[in-house]
Amino acid sequence: MKGLLILSGLGIIAMLAEIFKFKKLLLPIVLLGIVAAYATNFMDWNKNFGISYFNNMIAFDNLALAFSGIILVTAFFWFILANDYFEEDSNTVDHFALVLFALVGALMLTSFKNMTTLFLGIEIMSIPLYVLAASKKNDVKSNEAGFKYLIMGSLASGFLLFGIALIYGASGSFDLLEIKSYITNNVASMPAFFYVGVVMLLIAMCFKVSAAPFHFWAPDVYQGSPTLITALMSTIVKTAAFVAILKLFMVSFSNISQLWSATLAVIIALSLIISNFSAAMQSNVKRMLAYSSISHAAFMLMVVLANVRSSLSVNALVFYSLAYSIGSIVAFGVLYNVSRKGNEGIEAFNGLGKRNPLLAMCMSVAMLSLAGIPVTSGFFAKYFVFTTMIGTGYKWLLILAVTTSAIGVYYYLKIIIAMYFKSSDGEEVVVVEKSQTLVIVLTTVITLVIGILPNLIGNMFEF
């Protein structure tokens, strides 16, 4: 809870920075704040188990703390990477504040216990991102991205709200656990509109994590937004949305899984096929990463589908989110530096192996991790998903996932090949700021370390 308060406070401080003229100090303050939030988070671990705030609207149990931790770590690295993104624009402080408020929303999503906090969390997280997506004011594409994101996001929010209303109409409560007990008590006699409500929630959440067939906004928005904002969207926002799905469907609606599991299976299958085939055909790296993030979303949804409420699947999701977020930070960090001249095509990576060997090596590790090759963290992430899935009746989906992830290797390797095999027109060296190099190297090392020692976080939950 303290972490949430600290971040909100930071957001307000960031807005005051312009008036009181401490813009230069803002980044250190924010970083310190995030560290502090993480520290309080860490101290609550295993302690306040079950203690809730605001009439059980929010509770920071271990699950919430673990995912908040992932989000905060990612945010910490992101802010260092984004250092000069904030310097470029005149309205720095607004950007700081917006990102911080988006983080507040994300943390709310990890900890909500009530449908109203779910809705608040999603809105608090999304609205700043609509603005940030359009933050390159003179770029048509960026404006298009912001606009599309806003329209599609609002549509999804509409679905979400309607779904919540229908569920409230049937169960008479916003509280997750009360809804759960309502389901257990009235399995036979639930009104049809309750089911409609559940499916609407599912659709809304699939919009947010951009699972097919609700993914159409994602490639355009990812491509149009400034690279670092895309990084933010594909790491922190995704992670937060997944905790929300995990909580909704594995806690509240787990007893009526026969209702939503078939739908979810189709959504996953479509996501796997569409994303991997489309990604293989992209020449714009950001667009490719957008499609690849859809495929990763499908993998994470598979854990929810398996619906084994056990330590195994929660661990799998925690691990996957962390592995994916860290891998993406590396990938986007490198992409950001490589595409400074405006070329985001795959040819921007040509000859990077010569132009900046360190960066090329980090990118290779990131790509291998996203592709799921041992001994990177991405491999164990995939492995955990496979283990949760293999006990279920959805073996066909597992085979599909295996097949499509082999296709996935195709487009990740394309970048590695471009870096080492193709030569660029000019052999100019890619210069990277020290702080950014540090972040990229550090996240690469983390990718390898948790790939070799998955026990570090692979068994956080035992119940």
């Binding site: 291998l368 090759i373 041992p374 001994v375 491999f379 492995y383 496979f386 283990t387 293999i390 006990g391 597992l398 085979i399 295996v402 097949t403 992830s405 082999a406 296709i407 290797v409 195709y410 390797l413 590695i416 090949i417 080492y420 095999f421 193709k422 998955p454 026990n455 692979g458 068994n459 035992e462």
Partner: protein, 486 residues
Amino acid sequence: MLTLLLIAFPFLGALILFFSKTSAAKTIALGITLVEFIISLGLFFLYKHNPDNCQLSFEKDWVSNLGIRFDIGIDGIGLLLCLLTTFLLPLIVLSSFKNEYEKPFNFYGLMLVMQSALLGVFTANDGFLFYVFWELALIPIYFICLLWGGEDRGRITFKFFVYTLFGSLFMLVGLIYLYNHTNVNGLKSWNIIDLYNAGHALNATQQSAVFWLIFIAFAIKMPIFPFHTWQPNTYVNAPTQGTMLLSGIMLKMGTFGVIKWLLPVVPLGVEEWGGTAIILSVIGIIYASCIAIVQKDYKRLIAYSSIAHVGLISAGMLAMNQQGIQGAVMQMLAHGVSVIGLFLIADILLRHTGTRDIDKLGGIRSMNGNFAVLFLIIVMGAVALPLTNGFVGEFLLINGVYQFSPTLALFAGLTIILGAVYMLRSYQKIMLGERTDSNVAFGALAGSDKAVLIIVCIVIVTFGVYPKPLNDIAEEGVKQLLTYIK
């Protein structure tokens, strides 16, 4: 502990090379691989002295809550392949002394990493560890082919990587499925014996499914018809040392995998589908031999001959009898040695005459008699003439297939005739006959090349005349394996 040293030593050597960026990488790599060979000889004598020596295994928890252990150890068949790997690596390094590679420290470093991973595959006693080493072996060879390969390397290595990874992922699913069926006091386990038991407990349909999931990975790696399409281009395009690693050792990962990780795991599945797989292998033998006959590029010819050889190996071991599996082990060793000699010869031809095109070569014997003799001995080994090391394995293999089905043995036996056709025919064209314009002066062989060829020839003849030490270990290993199958 010694087994751990065996795996860790080349890896540490590789790290030294990566970070020192020394230009003397060749010599250092040669030194490291020679020391490694001595370590494995040590293992060999320890094992011969006392096969149950506890020093030879090493266990440690890795991911304890999932039952994953770092569990390595030596058994008969694994020992032979470790010997093969550690014996071939110095030869491969030595054979590269005449080639100048850019950034040699990376090249040799990757080679050593690859050696580590291969030895890991041959010694792993934990299903998960086996998979990790299996995949790990793929990454260095991918970069070796990508960074130092020929013309069209981007596209070709890519196909190679995706193809093999595709198979591996299915194997992973199969292994996880088995793991899910293990039960050791209520816990799941990745230990090989537990996986064997879990496999045996499955019914025939489940075993068949697991058989195909796992077999595809091995079939692609070997490769068996119709999963072979990545192989010829990759072999031809890779740098010579990469090709040697691929065909000399990496191919054995597939055959070794079948012997240790497939036959004892799902015997019913093998009984059900082994026949189909043998037919595919035999088709591969004939098909690849026929294509080899009409090849113009000598390196490509060897690539196809490799498919034919591995087809016979796989047919023999899938027959699941003592002779077949033992023959497969012996033939793996023989093929590894002779194919390295052949690929070196292809490289020598290219370096001395500027071409590997069989039609453009001729009359080299009159220019370099020593080379002709060495080449001939290696060719004899490859066509499995009696008193060469290839003969023992091939004889046992055909014997094994015969016990399974005489008709199939008849077709599989064609490999002897067809092999003789393409091998001797190409030898004749290259070495005998009229001199052609392109090779007016062949010149003397370089010292390092000569050394490698002579060592290969010595091994071919020695173990052709006296195969007993290796054969005894293979026989014991296979007997032990068959107890798991029955």
